[in-house]
């Protein structure tokens, strides 16, 4: 019994040390992870570190973007700055889920990378005044045959101990991934996906995502439509936000993709021939590899 106790204490110390080592020192004071903003808001950033900042870079990536765009790069000539502040204007951005990444450069020559944080950017006119809002985030368009991430942001406006979100995915698409950390999720194997948000206290704001694999014979210009609703005790409502994806662009090849074909695609990638847009070129290449891996 004593050995078991000692073993468990050792395991606890080991896990705590992993936690400390991986925690990093850059911490967001503002905004908080999963905070909800409306289009037009000025998002205030305040990030604290435990060293003197020489340079800081911040990037944003929303659903329609292939890559992060860096909206803040600031250098400091002298040591003394330990809290970095900046703002991001959301005017003109599309509603949806956005992530921010940031890196801080030390005078000594090393970097500290903060954890990625996620925010939901909503259209204020669309948010109903009900007890709960569940907002779907989709890219405007997707390549036929590609893997697509679908985000669902759950925003309780009152206190609840349980919310069920039911999502119906379009016909003829394949569910690739739907795990959501500590949120219980059930997929019926065809088209219905259920997320169960439960808490002994209150359900907090949350963002979950699932990944679909689209068929590659979808005609260009066609649309995929999503439907869903949420349920709480004595109330229910529709999922709002994005409802359709337009199919267009590069046709991602389907299985089988042999090694020679893959190398030909890699060659095209290296010459920017999959797309003239560099970020799109990268995206197409990684989509092809994702398919190749599953063949």
């Amino acid at each position: 019994m004593d050995i078991i106790k000692r073993g468990l204490i050792f395991l606890l110390i080991f896990l705590l040390s992993i936690l400390v080592v991986n925690a990093g020192t850059a911490e967001y004071i503002k905004p908080s992870n999963l905070q909800v903003f409306t289009v037009g808001d000025l998002i205030e950033f305040e990030i604290s570190v435990d060293f003197d900042i020489k340079k800081a870079s911040l990037g944003i990536n929303c659903e329609d973007d292939f890559s992060y765009s860096y909206f803040e790069k600031k250098s400091f000539d002298e040591p003394g700055t330990k809290v970095f502040k900046t703002t991001f204007d959301t005017t003109g951005r599309n509603p949806g889920i956005c992530t921010f990444n940031s890196v801080f450069y030390k005078f000594e020559g090393a970097t500290d990378i903060a954890n990625i944080i996620t925010i939901a950017l909503e259209d204020n006119n669309e948010l109903p005044q009900g007890p709960v809002s569940v907002v779907r985030g989709l890219p405007d368009s997707a390549f036929p045959g590609s893997f697509v991430d679908v985000f669902l942001s759950v925003i309780p406006h009152e206190s609840f101990t349980g919310i069920v979100v039911r999502e119906t995915v379009p016909d003829n698409v394949f569910m690739s991934k739907y795990g959501a950390g500590n949120v219980e999720v059930i997929f019926d194997g065809v088209s219905l996906l259920k997320y169960l948000f439960m808490s002994a206290n209150d359900v907090n704001n949350a963002v979950v995502f699932y990944t679909l694999k689209l068929p590659n014979d979808l005609p260009s210009g066609s649309e995929l439509t999503f439907n869903g609703d949420w349920v709480i005790l004595e109330n229910e409502g529709e999922i709002i936000g994005d409802q359709t994806i337009t199919i267009e662009g590069f046709k991602i090849p389907s299985c089988p993709i042999n090694d020679i074909e893959l190398l030909e695609y890699v060659d095209k990638w290296s010459k920017l021939e999959l797309s003239q847009n560099e970020a799109e070129n990268d995206e197409i290449m990684m989509q092809i590899i994702e398919v190749w891996k599953t063949c």
């Binding site: 078991i4 990625i116 990944t211």
Partner: protein, 180 residues
């Protein structure tokens, strides 16, 4: 007691999972300080926290610097970018991408590097070292500096030391003879 301990362990495991959710980490190491015109070796280590199908690592080559070598071979892209596409059996935890840059004939005291990695679902900065430092040319030792008359003071010190040493040996020998 044991029950409480289990609860703590479960809590810590959950927290650890949250913190380790970043699927990939890429860390840069810069070999040494260099003089203008010299070559510096840089390595990028890929650590996989989750299974991913592919990783694209992009480094921005500073203006005026030249890529002289890369293992595995990097692909050159417009705007001074080099990229590695890693996938399949070559994508392993701990994989190291090496490259060497030749410095221009003149550069200020330091040169910053920046780069990113991306997977199909994620993207972030390359961490680790980011400064290539200009090697400090060693100052000549004060003792070796010649004075105004062109006389090297170091040699004076050597000669003085040798005389003292010889004198010590002589004294020791004389004392030893006296004892006899």
């Amino acid at each position: 007691m044991l029950g409480k301990l289990f609860n703590w362990i479960i809590l810590v495991v959950c927290l650890s999972t949250l913190v380790l959710a970043i699927p990939v980490e890429v860390t840069r190491e810069i070999s040494n300080d260099i003089l203008p015109g010299e070559t510096v070796d840089i390595s990028l280590t890929i650590n996989l926290k989750e299974e991913v199908s592919s990783v694209i690592v992009t480094e921005l080559i500073p203006s005026g610097w030249e890529l002289v070598d890369s293992v595995p071979s990097a692909n050159k892209f417009p705007d001074n970018k080099i990229k590695w596409l890693v996938y399949g059996s070559s994508l392993k935890d701990g994989l190291i991408l090496n490259y060497a840059l030749k410095a221009p004939d003149s550069f200020s005291s330091e040169q910053e590097l920046e780069g990113i990695w991306k997977t199909l679902h994620d993207e972030n900065f390359i961490g680790g070292e980011y400064l290539i430092n200009l090697k400090q040319v060693e100052e000549p030792l004060i003792g070796l500096q010649e004075d105004d008359e062109g006389f090297n003071t170091t040699y004076m010190l050597y000669i003085f030391g040798a005389i003292v040493l010889v004198l010590l040996i002589v004294i020791i020998v004389l004392l030893a003879k006296k004892k006899k």
